[in-house]
């Protein structure tokens, strides 16, 4: 389709706005309220254009181009209109900074004098020149305004963590409101009041947190003025360098742009062209990234304990010390804990080292059995292949989404955005979980099922699908007969009773969402069901996905859990974490090498303990040797995210103090212990080996990363397609006499190696509500507990404390807390998979 823009014929796409078409053709039309990711708002009116044959002026940001349209984007008249409109905007915006004659001279110094009181002229804006208003003022050549600027005198709102809201600088473009509503789905902020009193705010002037904010920072990133600014940047200079990295704080692996000044990291923002995140991130990547690098908990130098105390020594000395000691233990007495938040390169070297040098196969992954591992084991037993790769984009194109096992708004934020996109275009969303998720209001069916009844529900749905006539072609598929048999006697009465779903209609509604004409996606995480149950849930989910020609997407956790799974796949001898812990408890592991945190619920004092990590921990303080590992930011490294996407993250800062990459430390140690093959110089040398030795990485070379391609794990191909055996046991998890409540946790993964982000950042602790348990109002009455009271939580494995928050989000009998892998000995170890029977009593 063609239109004429300023006399030039240009090609436009169907449905494209005139403004977008102009942008694509490098024709500048001033605009302030428009943002390509958001629906048009047409409020600022700067983008008005003239269209031949149309009365008046049309906003180009919301005018869809029509074949043959003749548009004038610039004329003396339009110029005049735009200047007048800009004048109006500036009359409400403290704007000396925009039109000051000294602007150019000032620009150089601006960022250094802003500690001056915030009410005078050009130093008012905290936005460091990142200002679209300035750009438009420059483009239109406005150098004076006819109206005095009025200071609206709105109190600067600093009540929430991470960013300030100074609506004196707001131009009411509504971008923040739209991004929050359209892309994040929280609708935290909106317009309040009208006329010249209109401002952006929350309902009833609540804090952002109380209004449901995720603190994703998306509003800050789209704000064209200094109205929304990251607090920690307010008095910082303008970045002099930008680098890209992959966020290591969950299994999404968002691409982030890291701003630096004189070598220091200032900020991190989602990359517009990030393949996974496309301009979005979450609170962790957006506001906490630099906490991981500059934490006060960082281990600075190698230390060893020759006598009583840990003492700093040189790398050489430390490595020699550990090498000597380790040589003294036979392979079956040495254990190694492998972090799932280190790079593929590190993991590969760990495995080689333990197996070839230590001659041990006792290397366990820090995270308990991953969803991948659990399902793979089942598949191997049944001789079935399991494609696990997926693209987040496929989720947004689904017609039906079934979600269970993870409150993805906080655990997999980017998956959530895709789900929201699907829902907004009409997809049905079923959430099956024991409590209310943070954005359950978007669900078509919000099924509050009893913990542990997930498999039952999935099995019943499979039975209904099997009952339909359209399945004949599947008759030959492996395992179908077994599947039929296993779901045969799932009667509706039992399912209703066991799941707690209130009525038959709800189930029928759910069934309808699995009609054959709908493309189905099942999203399953490992939470809320209980470890024994998760296996069946995953198998039942797989079967239902197969039956509906849909897809099962596993929600792993940890930036490189998927990578760890793929790398470890090649080794026959593996030990899982619980077995490892059991062995430790039985005294069968005498020397322990830890690169990631685990919590041992039992007392365990190994004869020799090495901790290799970036951060101090109780274990590190007890260790015989402590090795400072660099973080993701300090070395080039590769991660595999939950989609199966392989990404390379560059080094963005030099190594912190004396820290070294994990692979370097282990390689040197291996050499000290006499091994020859550990002569890696840089991480890409290791990647070459991975590419050659690990089938899942075949064809992904160092060069591929530079080509901006979509790189995915290579999966098994073949016709071994089939169903998996699932057991639909008739029990649900529940409390017992001594421990009548079930404690579930909402599945976040808020630590990076040994660093607990909630401890690192007060604002984050506040929004994650650490130390709080949610209690149903009925239970609160029975226990005679009020909001804010302190309680003791007891379980088989220990005791902990929390503060009560009464909430309808949890049903009676269930208490919920945010996942916290506390390392202090006095707390209960709640694993990602556990549903823990507990007792709750008032008390400190």
């Amino acid at each position: 389709m063609k239109i004429t823009l300023d006399g030039k014929q240009i090609e436009v796409e169907e449905g494209q706005t005139v403004l977008d078409a102009a942008r694509e053709n490098d024709i500048y039309i001033p605009s302030l309220c428009d943002n390509p990711h958001l629906s048009p708002f047409s409020g600022c009116r700067l983008c008005l254009v003239e269209i031949k044959g149309q009365r008046g002026y049309a906003p180009s940001c919301s005018t869809i181009a029509r074949e043959g349209m003749e548009v004038k984007s610039d004329s003396p008249k339009l110029r005049k209109i735009r200047i007048r409109i800009l004048e109006l905007i500036l009359s409400e915006h403290p704007s000396a900074c925009l039109i000051c004659q000294e602007k150019e001279n000032c620009d150089e110094y601006k960022s250094t004098i802003r500690k001056v009181g915030e009410t005078t002229g050009c130093v008012l804006c905290p936005n460091n020149g990142r200002c679209d208003l300035q750009k438009v003022a420059d483009a239109l050549g406005v150098d004076s305004i006819r109206f005095p600027a009025i200071y609206r005198d709105i109190e600067v709102n600093k009540k929430d963590p991470f960013f300030d809201r100074n609506y004196n600088l707001c131009i009411l473009c509504g971008r923040c409101v739209r991004v929050c509503h359209e892309i994040r789905g929280t609708s935290t902020i909106t317009f309040v009041n009208r006329g010249s009193d209109a401002v952006i705010g929350t309902a009833l002037d609540k804090t952002l947190q109380d209004a449901g904010c995720q603190f994703c920072g998306a509003c800050v990133d789209v704000c064209p003025t200094g109205a929304l600014t990251e607090r920690s940047l307010k008095y910082e200079k303008i970045a002099d360098e930008t680098k890209e990295t992959i966020c290591p704080l969950c299994s999404m692996g968002c691409r982030l742009d890291v701003g630096k000044y004189e070598g220091r990291i200032l900020s991190s923002q989602p990359s517009e062209d990030g393949k996974v995140n496309q301009g979005q991130a979450c609170v962790k990547g957006r506001f906490l990234l630099k906490n991981t690098v500059y934490s006060g908990q960082r281990i600075k130098r190698p230390m060893i304990r020759r006598k009583k105390d840990l003492e700093p020594v040189s790398w050489d000395e430390a490595l020699d010390f550990v090498a000597e000691k380790l040589k003294g233990f036979p392979g079956d007495k040495v254990g190694f804990i492998q972090s799932s938040q280190v790079s593929c390169e590190d993991m590969f070297v760990f495995e080689q080292f333990v197996r070839d040098v230590l001659k041990s196969d006792q290397i366990a992954a820090e995270s308990e059995n991953s969803v991948y591992g659990i399902l793979k084991e089942l598949a191997d037993e049944s001789g079935v292949i399991l494609p696990m790769n997926h693209k987040i984009k496929e989720i947004s194109q689904a017609d039906t989404i079934f979600l269970s096992g993870a409150d993805i708004v906080s655990s997999h934020p980017i998956v959530w955005l895709a789900v929201l996109k699907a829902v907004k275009t009409g997809a049905g969303l079923i959430i099956a979980a024991p409590f209310e998720f943070s954005l359950s209001r978007y669900a078509t069916l919000d099924l509050r099922i009893k913990p542990g009844s997930e498999a039952m529900l999935l099995g019943y749905l499979a039975k209904q699908v099997l009952g339909r006539e359209d399945l004949s072609e599947k008759e030959t598929v492996k395992g179908l007969e077994d599947l039929k048999k296993s779901v045969e006697d799932l009667r509706i009465e039992d399912v209703l009773k066991l799941t707690g779903i209130p009525n038959e209609e709800t189930l029928t509604h759910a069934e309808k969402l699995f009609r054959p004409d709908r493309s189905v996606v099942l999203l399953l995480g490992a939470g809320f069901a209980g470890k024994e149950k998760i296996k069946n849930t995953l198998a039942a989910g797989w079967n239902l996905a197969r039956l509906t020609r849909g897809r099962l997407f596993l929600l792993g956790s940890g930036v490189n859990e998927r990578g760890q799974f793929e790398i470890r796949k090649i080794y026959d001898k593996k030990i899982d974490l619980s077995e490892f812990i059991r062995k430790a408890a039985e005294g069968k592991i005498e020397a322990l090498y830890m690169t990631g945190p685990i919590t041992l619920a039992v007392k365990f004092d190994p004869a020799f303990l090495v901790v290799q990590d970036s951060y101090w921990s109780d274990m590190a303080k007890k260790a015989h040797a402590v090795f400072p590992a660099s973080t993701f930011a300090e070395d080039e490294c590769s991660f595999v995210n939950t989609e199966g996407r392989v990404q390379r993250s560059g080094s963005i800062i030099p190594h912190y103090e004396e820290s070294k990459p994990d692979w370097w430390i282990i390689s040197r140690l291996a050499q000290k212990m006499g091994a020859r093959s550990f002569s890696f110089k840089k991480s890409s040398d290791i990647f070459n080996r991975i590419e050659k030795e690990i089938p899942a990485f075949t064809g992904i070379t160092n060069v591929s990363f530079t080509k901006e391609e979509d790189l995915f794990i290579k999966e098994e191909q073949g016709d071994k397609i089939g169903f998996l055996p699932a057991v639909y046991d008739r029990t649900v998890s529940s409390g017992e006499k001594r421990y009548p409540f079930l404690l579930v946790q909402d599945g976040g993964y808020d630590s990076y190696r040994n660093l607990d982000l909630t401890k690192e950042n007060k604002g984050f602790a506040k929004i994650r509500e650490t130390g709080i348990i949610l209690l149903n109002p009925e239970d609160a009455v029975v226990l005679e507990l009020k909001n804010g009271e302190s309680v003791k939580i007891n379980s088989e494995s220990g005791e902990s404390h929390a503060v009560v928050k009464i909430s309808e989000a949890v049903p009676a009998g269930i208490v919920k807390t945010h996942f916290l892998r506390r390392l202090s000995p006095d707390s209960i170890f709640v694993s990602m998979l556990a549903v823990l029977p507990v007792n709750i009593k008032r008390g400190e």
Binding site: L88, E92, F147, L172, R194, S196, A198
Partner: protein, 415 residues
Amino acid sequence: MEEKILTKLFGLKDSHTIDVYLKHDGYKTTRKVIMEMKPGEVLEEVKAANLRGRGGAGFPAGVKWGFVPQNIDKPKYLCVNADEGEPGTFKDRYIMNHDPHLLLEGIIIASYAVGIHKAYIYIRGEYENVALRMEKAIEEAAARRYLGKNILGKGFDLDIYVHRGAGAYICGEETALLESLEGKRGNPRMKPPFPASIGLFGCPTVINNVETLSNVPFIIQNGAGKFTRNGLLKDGGTRLFGVSGMVEKPGIYELPIGTSLKDIIFKYAGGMKKGKKFKAVIPGGMSAPVLTADEIDINMDFDSLVEAKSMLGSAGVIVIDEETSMLDVLKTIAKFYSHESCGQCTPCRIGNAWIRKIVERIAEGKGKPGDIDNIHRLAKNMLQKTLCPLGDAAAMPILAITEKFRKELESYIGN
């Protein structure tokens, strides 16, 4: 001539009750429509009557109904605009107070014609009694099976709900009304898409003014021909002229469309109050540009007023006498619009605020030379440049006053 279409029952005792309404042939048309007519026939009749919208814009109702797609598997809605926020306008209130069943009958017939099963009456928040009265009327009608399921046993269903606004003028703008009805902030939507295709809850929706719909029973009962003959010109029917301001007999007058403005003021409304001299008149609610003494020899129909660069709008006639200062008039207008702007677009939100500030400073005796130009320029910068017609509604009267009464306004500014 001068037949009453809308005010026939006004003044009768208990005219708002269904008994009185039925006694005067009430719901006879509904019976006729439901029992004997096809929806298409009803639509054609309304089209033929050239019933132009009484809410302000004067768009022909039949044409609007015809835009609603028929082969669609979504519900369709009717929204009755009873927000009546335009200063100088109070006609809808009269209809709903005195003859609520007339409106209900209009709604039933319109819904039948378009295939609608749910209608909402969006009533101005301040009209509490009116809302109660409408609710009562709905109950009465439902009890007699003119509403609800299977109306008159003929299989047509219709439910009517009353929804009260919360006091924002902008919610009378049809798309803002939809937003508000959906429970959101009443900001106008962008058009296209028009409500006829994507309206309430994303479904095809007809929005009509109370008075517009109240004409429908007459049209169907008596035929389009009889209706059009009631108008003096090519617009069909009568209008409820709400005359206010400095006249002897302010009030609602049902008169044929096209009645002369001069007659409305001097004949029907009893002329100027206390014999004061006429100065100006706002002919169609506050958004309509003022007319001066030598402009009131004009027929009150849509097209004549457009020709005179004003508008018939809601037919609220506000009469201004020589003792009223045009600065006060301007101040009232400026205050109103700056308060009622939704705040979405720059020229309206900030422009109106500045106009108000400047007018207020002139009123305080602090006017500066060039201020009238400033006001004029700000208004001009609003005209046709805003998202919804409120910007124009503010700009037009302000431009007219600054142009027609420039001398007087200048006189309030010292040197």
